[in-house]
Symmetry: C2
Subunit: 330 residues, 2 copies
Amino acid sequence: MTKLSDVAKKAGVSSTTVSRVINNYGSLSEKTRAKVFSAMKELNYQPNSLARSLQGKKTQLVGVIFPSVTNPFYAELIEDLENKLFGADYKIILCNSANNSEKERSYLRMLQANQVDGIIAGTHNTNIEEYKTLDLPVVSFDRHLSENIPIISSDNYQGAQLATKELIANGANQIYFVGNVNVSPNENPTDLRVQGFEDTLKQHKLESHYFSVKTDNSVAIKKMLIRDFLNNHKVDGIFASDDSTALLIINIAKELNIDIPKQLRVIGFDGTKFIQNYFPELSTISQPISDIADLLISTLELRINDKKNYHNVTLALPNKLIRSSTTASI
Amino acid sequence: MTKLSDVAKKAGVSSTTVSRVINNYGSLSEKTRAKVFSAMKELNYQPNSLARSLQGKKTQLVGVIFPSVTNPFYAELIEDLENKLFGADYKIILCNSANNSEKERSYLRMLQANQVDGIIAGTHNTNIEEYKTLDLPVVSFDRHLSENIPIISSDNYQGAQLATKELIANGANQIYFVGNVNVSPNENPTDLRVQGFEDTLKQHKLESHYFSVKTDNSVAIKKMLIRDFLNNHKVDGIFASDDSTALLIINIAKELNIDIPKQLRVIGFDGTKFIQNYFPELSTISQPISDIADLLISTLELRINDKKNYHNVTLALPNKLIRSSTTASI
DNA sequence: ATGAAAGCGCTAACAG
DNA sequence: CTGTTAGCGCTTTCAT
């Protein structure tokens, strides 16, 4: 690996000078600047990031922690984050927490050890105390991590209102919330989906029903639970906590010869490009992924550049209804 | 950030000693070892990876370059890689090349600058000369990158045979290959899909037809092209170059009231868990993602640990047919 | 069994 | 405008 001093030697100047042209500071004559540049080209020189960071420069590394990358919603959010962070000259260390607290803790330690400039976390694991003591800028997506960690999310309450109203408007009145029903409400923004659902039904003098399918159940188990549910419950409208669950419900309804939307209306939540492209019949609530990514990054950069200024935000971006055939009027 | 010398001071020993217990080498008395450990606990000490790597230790960082993370196949491969690399104490720097050669080059430079131990690349961009001069262990998925870079892939030829036979066996005889038809064949393993398709049809005395839908077309354009294609061609069997394309074909066939599989049999390629879970009707060729990940990693580790030993492999793992309703016999 | 000192590749005062 | 020097946090000879 060729190093700075090699360039210096070749250019016939001191290391300092080379460093100056790399970092473009201080005053240099055009002549030396040119000499150094050509020496760099010739040796195909790449500054060693490790060394630069060691004496104080930022690493331009950001830890990105999400439960998984195979869920299309996270995938699209991560892809957008990657794109935008690349533009801002950051690299991503990808951490899948995978519903595994121990793994998440381990990643947190590792990110510290690697001197990342900051962390974007959208984890599901709860009670990771480490976030409270972490001496690093952190921004959270959709979760309460610790007192002084800002939370960015879509407006789950408003989204749930949109979804529930859509079901009601199209004639449903035995309406279930199916999916991740949280036991400890009001801990996370996502619990607001349940709240918005319940309030909207109440306003329409309808009863709210719940059927719990945990996120960490395997798909086989989920399918079984849903099959059992559809077979044994009087239900004509379902607000699924996410699009994946909605897809499962629709598949099984088809299997059971339940007509959608005549007998059963279904609406999901997330509204990824993927769903819109490959499953356009699904009505859903679309989260503003690009805005979320923008906000996560700008909030993080604020913290990175000004560690004192802890204006402790909780920001919720509005969702949009995507109306399609699974909630069409009969 | 507490540092090694802080621990040393607190434990009443020299930095050298602390370094010894961290790296577990040389001879230490049980007593000092204990003292140091408790000092580390007390100060919640995290060694600085940057500093360690600077004098020669590995960074335990691997660059992972794929076109995107929103394609379920790449997502599942990346997730598997992430899991396994985590187990081997590596962290991932995620690079989406996004059909953008300039971005890929930039990432390559950056990965060098960050002293990653190695790179796993599954790119689509061609003619990145940088791979040829890169002084870093690289392993490729499914692409020819440079003479001395090993290629791991599934057996595209055998997979295409399986798919084509399945179409024929179920009565198709106007059979098209739809999707990414490469212009410069035999450059990449994926071109073997076309070869396997053609050879199999020839063996059955059938003509092979092609309809090209480029990977980098937008979904809207793809849909339009496919709609046009289905409307204007006599076709009763399609081997789609990947499952996403297959899904699009199925959606549009439905729209056009073409009965699948009665009038048209469709088979895809990739066979992700995602497809199996959420679109179980699709017949497809399933690539052994877990084996691919294992092989990518073990091959990379071989190169990392023994830079001389360049046994220049090209390994193709067998695919499996997943038979489902889109190719069912009438 | 432990420590002193040099150095990894780079940057940042401080001189001149 | 340019160079000398010290030092970032850690590891590693070489002593003792």
